[in-house]
């Protein structure tokens, strides 16, 4: 590939991914006011506590599940990848709602958290612990799936080699866990960022975090300057996992060497791993589903929910399909056509990270600034393509990272042979890379479809006339006290999300370890 197309490619990708961010900051610069104030220190630290708590909980739960999937030999471990999908199909908004409306919740003493609320403050419904519990319970599958993929792809042969010389505990602490750390900590980092920028759970719990504070600034009209200050503080708060992961990667060489193989099966550690996995599944799937099922009451609620939410569910599905296609398309081009190392790849990573970390409604605001103009751009602003652009930009990073890792795992000899026979970059992409990566492409598309299906961020700020997504409908309905219909609608949305996710896991299991 010549230098000019590379520059064009990088520019195009950066433009699509960064356009919403650029739009937002340009508008912010134009609307700065003297009395714009940054978020308070209390808000900053509360947000870090929330995100850190959620990431910590997700790491502990996800680690147990990853070990159970990859290092246990039982029926439970074979079913677990599917159970691990359920929390992903229940977006944090729904999880929060289910937890808050848990029958008997008003009297529930949850590890003492609820009881202490009566004394005025740190209960599940009010300050970070409740939010961290809900977000951690909802997002642990990210850690679990990344961890399981790393285990299945990597350290099995090392464990087998060490087995004659060391006990299970020693192998676990010296080989399995170090091999698992980069992937699971990366997963915890993703959970941290998602929790930091999450708006719906703090909003439901009436918590004041950076995300809710920035939302207030944006939605009071011309306070984009203040929202921009808040977003910079949020990016600052997003830095710790990035720095931590960078240090970890430097100090610890990757242990995922050798061919994928069955690793050591846990025996002594089995009770811990099974208990952790059962707790994870109960928190992330059992409690919310039981809560929702009890609230829904019976079949009539599902009929009403379908009548109420049929249109929005369909809207969400097609929006998610287009957004996932956009993110995966861009991610694929960037992963395959950009050089494997160098400035262009790092710039693309940075651009993707900024779009991923900033709350969706800020991207929506930026896109509004770009597209809300007379002329042809207006069609994008007025319809739902504006939401697809926002969600696609936000989810570019997971697509780029996943497909980049998959591409890095391909043998280079095929591409080198194609170059030698004169094949151009697009021909190589479609004839060599894509066929070899097709399962990864399909799996990440399906996962992003599910995440986009549950995404509420951009649509909360901008609902195109006549186009309501299921998440916004749910968010509104939750306020009207129609608990039966809302619960049934949540369960319907979950069922729709689970179909592509289960397909993704089937693809992944047929090709163990490539989704890393």
């Amino acid at each position: 590939m010549t230098a000019i197309p590379k520059i064009v490619l990088v520019t195009l990708i950066l433009l699509v991914v960064l356009l919403p961010v650029i739009g937002f900051y340009v508008e912010a610069a134009a609307s700065r006011r003297a009395d714009d104030a940054p978020p308070s220190a209390a808000t900053f630290f509360r947000s870090i506590a929330l995100a850190g708590g959620a990431a910590g909980l997700a790491w502990v739960l996800g680690l147990s599940v990853a070990l159970a999937i990859a290092r246990l030999d039982s029926r439970f471990s074979r079913v677990l990848p599917f159970l691990a999908l359920v929390p992903l199909a229940l977006p944090p908004t729904i999880q929060g709602y289910a937890w808050l409306n848990l029958p008997g919740a008003a009297d529930l003493s949850l590890f003492g958290l609820r009881a202490s609320e009566a004394a005025g403050g740190w209960g599940i419904g009010w300050l970070p612990w409740g939010g961290a519990l809900i977000l951690g319970s909802s997002l642990w599958p990210i850690v679990a799936l990344l961890g399981a993929a790393a285990l299945l792809a990597g350290s099995g042969s090392l464990e087998q080699a060490a087995a004659p010389y060391a006990g299970e505990r020693r192998i676990f602490w010296r080989i399995t866990l170090p091999g698992l750390l980069p992937a699971t900590l990366a997963g915890a980092g993703i959970v941290y960022w998602l929790a930091l920028s999450n708006y719906s759970v703090p909003s439901l719990l009436a918590m004041r975090t950076l995300s809710t504070r920035i939302f207030e600034s944006v939605s009071i009209g011309t306070r984009c300057g203040e929202a921009a200050m808040g977003s910079l503080v949020l990016l600052l708060a997003a830095a710790p996992p990035l720095i931590g992961l960078g240090l970890l990667m430097r100090r610890r060489p990757r242990l995922s060497i050798g061919t994928p193989s069955e690793g050591m099966k846990l025996r002594r550690g089995r009770p811990f791993v099974v208990t952790g996995s059962v707790i994870a599944v109960c928190l992330g799937a059992g409690v919310p589903i039981i809560s929702l099922a009890i609230q829904a009451g019976g079949l009539p609620a599902f009929g009403r929910a379908l009548a109420l939410g049929g249109g929005p569910l369909w809207n969400s599905a097609r929006l998610a399909a287009v957004a996932a296609t956009l993110a995966v398309g861009l991610g694929l081009f960037a992963a395959v056509l950009l050089p494997r190392h160098g400035l262009a790849r790092r710039a693309t990573w940075a651009a993707g990270l900024v779009s991923f970390v900033l709350p969706g409604y800020l991207l929506g605001r930026g896109l509004t600034f770009i597209y809300n103009r007379p002329g042809p751009l207006r069609a994008i602003y007025e319809g739902w393509p504006i939401l697809a652009l926002g969600i696609g930009a936000a989810f570019f990073l997971p697509a780029f990272a996943t497909l980049g890792a998959a591409h890095a795992g391909l043998r280079t000899s095929l591409e080198e042979a194609a170059i030698a026979s004169g094949a151009g970059p697009l021909r190589r992409l479609f004839r060599i890379s894509l066929p070899l990566m097709i399962r990864d492409v399909a799996a990440i598309w399906l996962i992003l479809f599910t995440l986009a299906f549950g995404e509420a961020g951009a649509a909360i700020l901008r609902e195109p006339p006549g186009f309501q997504t299921a998440q916004v409908l749910l968010f509104n309905q939750m306020h009207y006290g129609r608990n039966k219909d809302v619960a049934a609608l949540c369960l319907l949305a979950m069922a729709i999300s689970l179909i592509p996710l289960a397909t993704a896991v089937c693809l992944w299991r047929r090709d163990k370890g490539t989704l890393t």
Partner: protein
Amino acid sequence: MRHSHNATLVIVLAGIVLAVLIWVIRPGSEGSRQVVVYTSVDQEHARRLLDKFEKETGIRVRASFDIEAQKTTGLYNSIRDERSAPIADVFWSSEASRMEQLRREGLLAPYASPSGASIPEAYRAPDGAWYGFGARARVLVYDPRRFQESDPPRSIFDLTDPALKGRVGIANPLFGTTSSHVAALFAARGDRAKEFLLDLKKNDVRILDGNSRVRDLVGRGELWVGLTDTDDVWVGKDNGLLLEMVFPDGEAGGLGTLVMPNTIGLIRGARHPDEGKAFIDFILSKETEADLAYGPSRQIPVRGDVDTPPTIVPLEGIRTMTVSIPQIVDVLPESLQFVRDHFLQ
């Protein structure tokens, strides 16, 4: 190998074609008669009337709703953002102050609706840019189980009572009717309103993301008392919550209760002005106001001759605040600033 490549290409092309098709088949084609309505009225209440209008007139309604957490303000911002090429034809607001702000900014087109002729002057803009109808009152909602041995609060100033510390909830006063209520206090009481807010803060008031959330937490016994709208209380009662309400400060010489009507106005430069006017006429009809009174939100008609159910307290039976909507809008920027800088920080 070649077979596999061809299959891949077919899959990719099929995916692209599907994505394009999905993109193209989207709502909002301009073929039929339509009206774009931005409404901050609760979706479940508005939807019924929008469907009825569609059925009666054959005009398709494309609606945008505001989420509870940014009630009215979100759509107000959108209309301001879109001033160079409006998308909305009609703004149907759940309160009046943002509508009056839009009028002052020249974003509404005056329209002498025949249906609105009978609406009292206090509930419409002098130039006919907007009309008020179907009002709600700001009330104190309380959990009767908590006040079996003592009287429930009768004044909003009772919410600062230390006995209620940590037990009072209000919606975020930057949005919706709560923001108008705070501005009305500023207009009526000046600095006393600021003291009240600071006292509320000292009393650990819970700031929630909507009036209905206030109602729910009071109904579930997690809060003892809150400030909300009458329609939220009625819906809560219908859903089985144990709630009672008080029209606050109704004693002689008292501050009075804030009554906030729905408002509706035509957007200046609307793309479907005729359909917009038809919609306004429909909403302002006495039948619609009676429908709102008999509906789940039990909204209070501003016209005395509209039929109402016996459970509704008519406007004449409520001692209302003497602050006008223009007065509220005059102080709204100051009150919002104070809330942001001193109450929410």
